[in-house]
Symmetry: C2
Subunit: 347 residues, 2 copies
């Protein structure tokens, strides 16, 4: 009865590092340094919702862990380990081997070994559940609610490529093999910014990872911190592969495109040199794209009926200043902002 | 787009206790006392594999957390918190409300608040992923590999009721409403033995929770600890509701029946009073059912081709002594042992 799932287990059993009790007891055990807290995040990824059924399984194994590591990065937490739940509609050994290879390779890069898991047969859907654990000194986590007026807003890496790759693969854009080749890596092989998150501890005030689009995710920081923001469109680091796209598609990709897994963070203007030094240390590119501004609670109340979410497109012209403004190259606010876009709707 | 899943989130958002950063940031954060380790376990439950599609959703919410808390209990770990991944094929608000009620009620009993999660729409299957976190002083965890020759073997609670309820509901046994009523609670509302696990720290050597059947789970202790065991059938605490079953069905339920979520543990014979006192403290019933014996590595080698797993039914008469023997009331070893039974095969 268990034999085929023993086979599955084989792909996911690794010798746990010293101090970690891995697969093979009721629980996995791991130590936490004195004075540190545990940071944890969980994601449930489903075929057809979070990835295309024909995605390269090695890329899928990578991405299933990457999206969780990205949450640790956004808290400034150091990865400790992870657990994996896998529901498989069929036993496909080459698929499993490739998935495990992609998963373990990224786990090794970030020192985040698989220390436990559960595999099961599903009736229809392929489902992947990953929970990651990290450690962060008490009080040092980069939270969403710590942005302050006067902070700069920064973004790591580039924006927009994953959105364009998704829409090309989904048939929303005309076939364009060259552009797909230039953007697909961003969608399928996101690189979680763990080193940058660690380097920004003590420097950045607030941070989030961009999973649902810059406007929507920055909006979470603004709402939690009760502040506003002004972004400069011409400073946003659009991926080079977006060159030549119509302006609407470009804006949608850069401002609203999800699946980015770069960091958006805020830091005091006085710490610009420290931010740049942290990025060098982490081998990351960072771009200063705007600033945090005060946002009066009264404005929130006035807008409550008009604005459904930060970064939404339902601002009323002439109403109180919106929480989030994007200025174009001439310094004029964009009248229409793309809504945050969660790839694979309903997810 | 997100509105219906905002609704879902509402059922699963609770104010996190002091010191825990709950739902609403990239990660949840929790402190771990100095000198303690984190214990974690994850389970992925699927409709039709781990529960019947028409199960009471309140019971399902309870059980989804209970099976994970049972893993903490088996390590002697104190619950800290949990995260929940939920893939739903449809939005059914009364179902969700009942599921959340069952989940949160058990979480409150055990001080294990929901601190993070992920909800998503699935194409077909209902999938529930729970990961629990607990804390245990370094070196104090009840492990599988710590049983010693001379230890008593103990079992908490009663055995066999869940197996009978499962087979009645599955149509394997003739309809018997009275027996179903007397056994169903054991299958659908298992009570994780968290308090007992904590009380046994420093007393028990090895422990495991009985999820796949006493023989199979005890077999994991024996294999990990490189020891053997002798059980006395007439000491096993069969549930009263099993009275009148044919002897084969009774043995299958008591020795092989899964979904028990009681503890099987070993402790030195010199600590019998301490075990009983711990059980009283925890409000648990415990029964001494056998003993751990030496098991020579040479015997393992001799049996390697004949014995596929501990507790299996493929012992060869006349071969070296098996790792696990069950003696009947006359002191004779049972020739045939039921294999461990994992309800919902393939899970």
């Amino acid at each position: 009865m268990a034999s085929e799932f023993d086979l599955i287990a084989r792909y996911f059993t690794r010798t746990a590092p010293t101090g970690l009790l891995g697969v093979g007891d009721d629980c996995a055990l791991f130590p936490v340094p004195t004075g540190e807290q545990v940071a944890t995040s969980t994601d449930l990824l489903l075929e057809g919702r979070h990835f295309f059924p024909d995605v390269d399984p090695k890329a899928l194994g990578h991405k299933a862990l990457a999206v969780n590591l990205s949450d640790l990065a956004a808290m400034g937490a150091r990865p400790i380990g992870c657990v994996l739940g896998l529901a498989l509609p069929r036993l496909d050994e080459p698929w499993l081997a490739a998935f495990a290879e992609g998963f373990h390779a990224l786990a090794a890069v970030h020192g985040c070994p698989l220390i436990g898991g559960d595999t099961t047969r599903s009736a229809h859907d392929l489902a992947i559940s990953v929970t990651v654990f990290g450690a962060v000194p008490a009080g040092a986590a980069l939270r969403r609610d710590a942005a302050q007026a006067g902070d700069d807003i920064w973004v790591s890496g580039e924006l927009g490529a994953a959105d364009v790759a998704y829409r090309l693969l989904d048939g929303q854009y005309p076939t364009d093999p060259e552009r797909l080749a230039a953007t697909r890596g961003a969608l399928e092989w996101p690189e979680p910014q763990v080193a940058l998150g660690l380097a920004l501890r003590g420097i950045a005030h607030a941070a989030i990872d961009i999973s649902d689009g810059l406007l929507q995710d920055l909006g979470h920081i603004l709402a939690a911190s009760r502040v506003g923001a002004v972004l400069h469109e011409d400073r946003l680091p659009a991926a080079a592969a977006l060159a030549g796209l119509p302006v609407d598609a470009l804006r949608r990709a850069v401002l609203g495109g999800g699946d980015v897994y770069q960091l958006c963070f805020t830091a005091p203007a006085a710490r610009r040199d420290a931010v740049l030094a942290a990025a060098r240390t982490a081998g990351a590119r960072v771009t200063r794209v705007g600033g945090i501004v005060a946002h009066e609670p009264a404005q929130d109340a006035m807008q409550a009926s008009a604005v459904t979410h930060a970064g939404g497109s339902s601002e009323i012209p002439g109403a109180a200043r919106p929480r989030l403004m994007v200025l174009d190259a001439t310094g004029q606010p964009l009248a229409q902002l793309p809504a945050g876009f969660d790839h694979f709707p309903g997810a």
